[in-house]
């Protein structure tokens, strides 16, 4: 029996106090315990003195199915108990069915000579099949052979006469070759002597329907050799199995109930094999990414804003000081609603405040856009084209000061769908309201976003233009995967935006474009894939980390 030993080695580092303990298991014991019954069967076909076996031999000896053997061989290879040798296309010699009977009963030549030497009666060729259980067509060639080698002659009346009482050496050689192959089950041609080889070739294939004695297979051959470890395992196998308890693979409720689990051993599994992947329930990867962004902003102290997808021009544009003639307000940029066409009303006093501000600046100190504000057009319903509309509505809804707000808003632009544009897209927008807000704080906030959202260490600020902010700035960051990218735009809301909505403190407004970041983290290059219908793709998409 092999014992499980724990060898604790202590290595003391010279001069240092660190002690490294290494626990070494007795490897062989572990391996024997982990052997699957199939593996044991295969190992049992090996004998220590014959440490190499061909696939076909193992197959025959174990009686396993090919697939079972393949699995067992794979495991054994994995455990390094055997190694495989591809012997190329090799001639493998084995006995045919006829050959095997020759091994048991003796070759016909020998049997005929023996019979004739002991028989006292005259025997003809026709008597032999019945007497010696030989096939009729087997007898003719054998007699011909014996005649040729002067072992016998055919006398008058077909009577066979033995010429020598001792069988010739040739017969003995042939019998010993059959016995040799029978003993080894199979042999490679190269293991035979030249004479033996010639003999095999002369006997493996005979004319007509006659069966040969030997089979020569010329196919790719794997030869399996026991490794040194394998040899030692085979040597110990019989011994150790005596001590092996009943082996259990699946634990059942029954053996737990009746306590039998105490009397069994649990077969060790090959835990390194890959199991099938499961189709689990999980979040969509893009939504998971958006959820991550949401949590980021909440952790930075931002409150989430929500709003309507259908908006009117007033909140989407006019309240943001985009003049009604602004080029981004036509049917080539914004989706207009056909039905219903106009909102019921625009809330006062915001309508009047904004209208005056556009016309002549109102009380904002601005010159205004100096045109006649259209109070009907402002009611026109559209699909929300920018998340900033939520910021405008928040300003008019008595926001907290100091306050920070954000939104992850679906927005819509009149754009042909392609690899970089979808009809719907997400905008991440927000505001910061406080008396102490200024340009430098805006830059500080953007730096924070760069670190928290884009994991960027470097940022660049460049001038930008938005109708609703002044000063305006564009944030460029050095993303770890993408290099320098535009992460977003920001600015301080113009007084023409804040004052008509009743806000007297400065307000930072910002918007981030994170689609590219999302695409990188999801490993896609086409924005349409964020909204794909491909179940396989979504099932296999990795979680966002």
């Amino acid at each position: 029996m092999v014992l499980i030993c724990y060898n604790v080695l202590k290595n003391r580092k010279a001069g240092g106090g660190t002690v490294i303990r290494t626990v070494i298991f007795n490897v062989k014991t572990d391996i024997i315990a982990s052997l699957h019954p199939l593996e044991i069967e295969v190992l049992n076909t090996f004998k220590t003195e014959k440490a190499s076996l061909f696939w076909s031999v193992i197959l025959e000896k174990t009686g396993l199915k090919e697939s079972q053997l393949r699995t067992a061989i794979e495991w054994l290879l994995h455990k390094n108990l055997i190694i495989s040798e591809s012997t190329g296309v090799e001639e493998i010699i084995s006995l045919t069915k006829t050959g095997k009977s020759y091994a048991t009963l003796g070759i016909p030549e020998k049997r005929i000579v023996q019979f004739l030497s002991s028989s006292e009666k005259d025997v003809t060729m026709g008597d032999l099949p019945a007497i010696l259980s030989l096939e009729k067509d087997e007898v003719g060639p054998v007699i011909g052979f014996l005649k040729k080698h002067k072992d016998l002659s055919v006398e008058a009346g077909g009577v066979l006469k033995l010429l020598s009482s001792n069988s010739s050496s040739y017969i003995e050689n042939k019998q010993s070759l059959v016995d040799k192959v029978a003993k080894e089950e199979s042999l490679m041609m190269k293991e035979l002597s030249m004479e033996e080889g010639d003999m095999v070739r002369s006997l493996y294939r005979k004319r007509g329907t006659e069966q040969g004695v030997f089979r020569i297979e010329g196919r790719p051959i794997f030869l399996y050799h026991l490794t040194e470890e394998g040899k030692s395992v085979v040597a110990d196998l019989v011994e150790s199995l005596k001590y092996r308890k009943t082996e259990v693979s699946q634990i059942t409720s029954d053996i737990l109930k009746d306590g039998k689990w105490k009397d069994v051993t649990f077969r060790k599994y090959n835990i390194k094999l890959n199991p099938p992947k499961l189709n689990i329930g999980k979040k969509h990867p893009y939504r998971q990414f958006l959820d991550w962004v949401r949590i980021k902003f909440i952790s930075l102290g931002f409150k989430e804003m929500k709003g309507s997808i259908v908006e009117n021009e007033f909140w989407n544009m006019d309240a943001l000081f985009m003049p009604q003639f602004h080029s981004a307000r036509n049917i080539h940029d914004v989706y207009y609603i056909k039905k219903p066409e106009y909102s019921r009303e625009i809330e006062e006093p915001y309508l009047s405040n904004v209208a005056f501000c556009h016309e002549h600046g109102g009380n904002t100190g601005s010159a205004g856009w100096r045109y006649k504000f259209d109070r009907e057009k402002t009611k026109r319903l559209i699909l929300r084209s920018q998340g900033t509309v939520l910021s405008a509505r928040t300003l008019a809804a008595d926001p907290e000061i100091p306050g920070k707000y954000f939104a992850i808003a679906r927005c819509f632009r009149y754009e042909q769908i392609d690899a970089t544009h979808g009809t719907d897209f997400f905008q991440i927008e927000g505001i910061v309201l406080d008396e102490t807000i200024n340009f430098r704080k805006l830059l500080g906030l953007l730096n924070l976003f760069a670190i928290e959202i884009a994991r960027a260490k470097k940022t660049k600020f460049t001038p930008a233009y938005f109708p609703f902010t002044e000063p305006s700035v564009e944030l460029q960051v050095e993303h770890p995967d993408l290099g320098w990218i535009e992460l977003g735009g920001a600015g301080i809301f113009r007084p023409e935006v804040t004052l008509p909505l009743g806000i007297k403190v400065p307000v930072i407004a910002w918007g981030l474009g994170i689609d590219r970041m999302a695409m990188v983290s999801l490993g896609i290059s086409d924005i349409r894939q964020l909204f794909t219908h491909d179940l396989d793709f979504i099932r296999n998409a990795k979680a966002v980390i």
């Binding site: 329930g281 989430e304 200024n438 109708p467 000063p471 909204f531």
Partner: protein, 562 residues
């Protein structure tokens, strides 16, 4: 955002110094512009100008001017703004133009020779001013003419469509005004701007030769500019006097930057007159304290004055205020914040050190999102894969394929395609669409989407409501009502929301296997086995069972207000 194309060499000549492409791409931020590419073969560069409110920058001349002032501190000088128009340099405006296209301006440019650079620059600024700033010639239109053929003074007058004929640019035959609108490509394109008037605008010279038919087309004779011309006349017509003058100023400054001598013209209306080009002297007062508050640091008034002068402003100091006069080619300063930004750009954004906002605020999730997230968590816990799809969809998917009669939906007017023409009022159709595209993907399929839907709501201010729905389907060979019901049941159990089902008939579901989901006596959703005819419409070969819920406050007993 306008993108211009100009020759690198031309830009360097205008800038007055060498300007490598590398340097150019670094300094363009002074003009709020971005370098967009260089064509080695032609030597042309592309520049995008992000400020839609600064038409003076939409040309090589404008970019070069800004860079000259910002980087070389070379102040541009345009003496013609203080010149007086001489005798015949007059445009007489007929009183019949008052209600049609009332305003005009123009100038004479001599001391030039039209070459390829000048011509390219001229076409560039003309196109950008008329198309972008001029809203496709509605607000302003520009005509450039070979001045050597013109006899001054000019008259700007309305004619009835058949009253006058001339050869429009590109044609040798004479046409009357209505024929031009019918037959000339520009007539077809811009005819809409004059068609509603009984009289059409025409600019003629003293010999009654036609210069142009604004805003449609120039004459083929006077209104054709070619390489080699030595003098030009530029006219600008429009519906806003301010815009007309600004564009005249920009055109005049651009040509002046190329060495032209500019002669201003007097425009005489029946009861008033003005000169063009004309310095509009837009003056904005800037308080130092306000600038410091917005920028977040103390700034020396002398440095404000200096940096603003690099942006073209003339600044004088009056006590704590700075009186800033815009250059004649700019009219974008509506408020002193515009000056503050210009100061910051001029000094450089990188000269401001970022500072963290220090005020403490509490972050929170929107209640509806918080609620929706709980449902999403439960759905994934039950083994469902989440999807996210477009909100825009098509009526055929909502109704025809679902076997449902056409109902009210919010429709888009300017559709890009029928596939994306209405806002989805329900999520179930898209889940079936997904199913139809995954017939070969390993079953069972358990998928869901939680997302926004929009329904018409005539009483609401926005005549519609954006709601959050959740829909889920199961599909495999044994999918049926009791399976999907078990998921709904578990969902409601863990949400602690009581509900019951009432039989309903919905043609999308099998009769007798469909139910309304009722909670607190309110209908909050539907559940059932999809009718095989609907599956057939989608080409689905597996049974499908589904439910859809609307996540409004009817679903929860607490007082959470969504």
């Amino acid at each position: 955002m306008p993108t211009i194309t100009c020759y690198h060499r031309d830009l360097e000549i205008l800038y007055t110094e060498k300007l490598s492409l590398q340097k150019l791409s670094e300094v363009l931020e002074k003009a709020k512009a971005e370098f967009k590419g260089y064509d080695e073969k032609t030597g042309e560069i592309k520049i995008e100008i992000v400020d839609t409110n600064r038409p003076d920058l939409w040309s090589a001349e404008g970019i070069a001017r800004q860079l000259r002032e910002s980087l070389l501190h070379k102040k541009s000088s345009y003496p013609f703004f203080s010149a007086t128009p001489s005798g015949k340099d007059i445009i007489i405006v007929d009183k019949n133009m008052a209600d049609i296209r009332p305003y005009i301006g123009g100038f004479f440019a001599s001391n030039i020779e039209v070459d390829e650079f000048l011509l390219t620059g001229l076409i560039q600024i003309q196109e950008k001013l008329t198309e972008n700033y001029g809203r496709s010639r509605e607000l302003i239109a520009i005509g450039v003419h070979d001045a050597s053929k013109i006899e001054f003074p000019l008259s700007y007058k309305g004619f009835s469509p058949k009253e006058i004929s001339f050869s429009p640019l590109g044609f040798t035959e004479e046409m009357d005004l209505s024929e031009i609108l019918e037959r000339h490509p520009k007539g077809q394109e811009y005819g809409r701007l004059v068609k509603n008037f009984s009289l059409y605008p025409v600019l003629q010279d003293a010999a009654n030769k036609v210069l142009s038919f604004p805003p449609v087309i120039n004459s083929n004779d006077l209104g054709r500019v070619v390489v080699g011309n030595k003098a030009l006349f530029v006219d600008i017509t429009g519906t806003s006097l301010e815009s007309v003058i600004l564009c005249v100023n920009i055109m005049a400054c651009n040509l002046s930057d190329r060495g032209a001598h500019i002669r201003p013209f007097m425009v005489e209306y029946p009861s008033s007159r003005h000169m063009t080009p004309q310095n509009l002297k837009q003056i904005v007062t800037l308080e130092q304290e306000y600038l410091e508050k917005i920028l977040g640091e103390k700034v020396d008034p002398a440095s404000i004055m200096e940096y603003l002068s690099f942006m073209g402003f003339s600044v004088s100091k009056e006590e704590n205020k700075l009186i800033c006069e815009s250059p004649p080619y700019r009219r974008d300063c509506l408020h002193s914040v515009d000056l503050i930004e210009d100061f910051a750009i001029s000094r450089g954004y990188n000269t401001f050190s970022p500072e963290m906002p220090e005020k403490y605020t509490v972050g929170s999730m929107s209640p509806i999102i918080e609620f929706a997230d709980t449902l999403r968590m439960l759905m994934t816990g039950m083994g469902f894969q989440e999807f996210i799809t477009y909100i825009l969809t098509g009526k055929d998917k909502l109704f025809d394929k679902m076997n449902r009669p056409e109902g009210d939906v919010v429709e888009v007017a300017n559709v890009m395609s029928d596939t994306y023409s209405v806002l989805r009022p329900t999520l179930l159709p898209v889940l079936l669409e997904i199913e139809s595209k995954n017939l070969r993907v390993e079953f069972p399929h358990k998928i869901f989407e939680e997302g926004e839907v929009v329904i018409p709501a005539p009483k609401e201010i926005l005549r519609s409501k954006t709601l959050h729905n959740l829909s889920a389907i199961v599909s495999h060979s044994g999918a049926n009502f009791s399976e999907i019901h078990s998921y709904l049941h578990s969902l409601m159990f863990y949400l602690n929301i009581p509900y019951k089902l009432e039989e309903t008939s919905d043609p999308a579901f099998i009769d007798g296997r469909a139910g309304k989901i009722i909670s607190f006596n309110r209908e909050v959703g539907i559940i059932g086995e999809i009718y095989p005819g609907v599956l057939e419409n989608w080409g689905i070969m597996m049974p499908v069972a589904a439910f859809e819920l609307t996540l409004d406050y009817n679903l929860v007993r607490s007082e959470k207000d969504f």
